[in-house]
């Protein structure tokens, strides 16, 4: 199981959804347009699959997608886009990877938005488990 492949496939799913907005990928220059999505990744330590140990490797992760819209334009557009991003990764869905799969065992978590120097930012946290099969 390749961590880079996991991240790439998650980003591809977001890109393929063609939401019609700019996406700032990790470690790339940030744009200044509204609306846009800022993507970053959080990964856990890896574990074996059973208490007795096995060849099954799994880890949990979160893809953070921050929805950025213009502040003082109402929260609706940010919330609508947040819902659209969350809908790309429904609870119970899976993405196949080489030698394993990515599973979404809970709905994406849409957090409260906040005002930031002209931006309205709504975090969408997409939790997943990646494991060998």
């Amino acid at each position: 199981m390749n961590t880079n492949e996991v991240k790439a496939l998650l980003q591809k799913a977001l890109y393929d959804a063609a939401l019609g907005v700019d996406i700032d990928w990790p470690n790339s220059p940030r744009s200044a347009v509204w609306p846009r999505i800022e993507v970053s990744h959080i990964s856990s330590e890896r574990t074996s699959g059973t208490l007795k140990g096995s060849e099954v490797i799994r880890y949990s992760g979160v893809m953070s997608a921050i929805i950025v819209t213009q502040a003082a334009s109402g929260a609706v557009s940010g919330d609508v886009l947040a819902d659209q991003v969350a809908a790309i990764f429904p609870e119970g869905s899976r993405i196949a990877i080489t030698g394993g799969e990515i599973a979404f065992n809970r709905p994406a978590d849409i957090r409260d938005g906040y005002n930031d120097d002209g931006d309205w930012r709504v975090p969408v946290m997409i939790g997943y488990s990646a494991m060998t099969t």
């Binding site: 800022e38 856990s44 330590e45 890896r46 208490l51 921050i66 120097d117 002209g118 930012r121």
Partner: protein, 146 residues
């Protein structure tokens, strides 16, 4: 007589299982919140970039804003408040830890980031390890609590 001995064995087994569950819950909660509460020098103190998984420290206002509660009742405040309630945690308890409040209303900005700064994500970076932490503590309890 045999029935009584069997009943006593079951009672002892239940008590031991409950002790083990409580210990896994207590150790795992302590590990995950202990990881979230780690602090490091903030950007205004000289750090060059965000160090994801840590709470940046300038005047410690943010780290000291932690409020820890069990069932919304027992409540402790302060950067190390989690240590004061971890010892009371049992499996099934509803506990909460929150940074921010009026003293550090910018907590959300620091955690998720702004247009000028990457997010530090200290909560999500700790919580994402929950399964690994529980698994490790379950193994520890199995090997050390007889």
């Amino acid at each position: 007589m045999e029935t009584k001995e069997f009943s006593a064995d079951v009672d002892a087994w239940i008590a031991k299982s409950q002790r083990r569950l409580d210990l896994v819950a207590r150790r795992s909660t302590g590990d995950v919140i202990g990881r979230a509460a780690r602090r490091t020098m903030g950007i205004t103190r000289g750090a060059k970039n965000a160090k994801p998984g840590f709470i940046p420290v300038d005047l410690s206002t943010l780290s000291k804003s932690l409020v820890s509660t069990i069932h919304g009742g027992i409540r402790q405040e302060g950067a190390d408040s989690h240590r004061l309630i971890i010892g009371k945690v049992k499996s099934g308890d509803v506990i909460s830890f929150m940074w921010g409040g009026p003293a550090a209303s910018y907590a959300r900005h620091v955690h998720y980031g702004t247009k000028h700064m990457d997010g530090w994500f200290w909560i999500d970076r700790a919580v994402v390890n929950w399964q690994a932490i529980v698994r490790r503590n379950a193994i520890w309890v199995r090997n050390n609590v007889k």
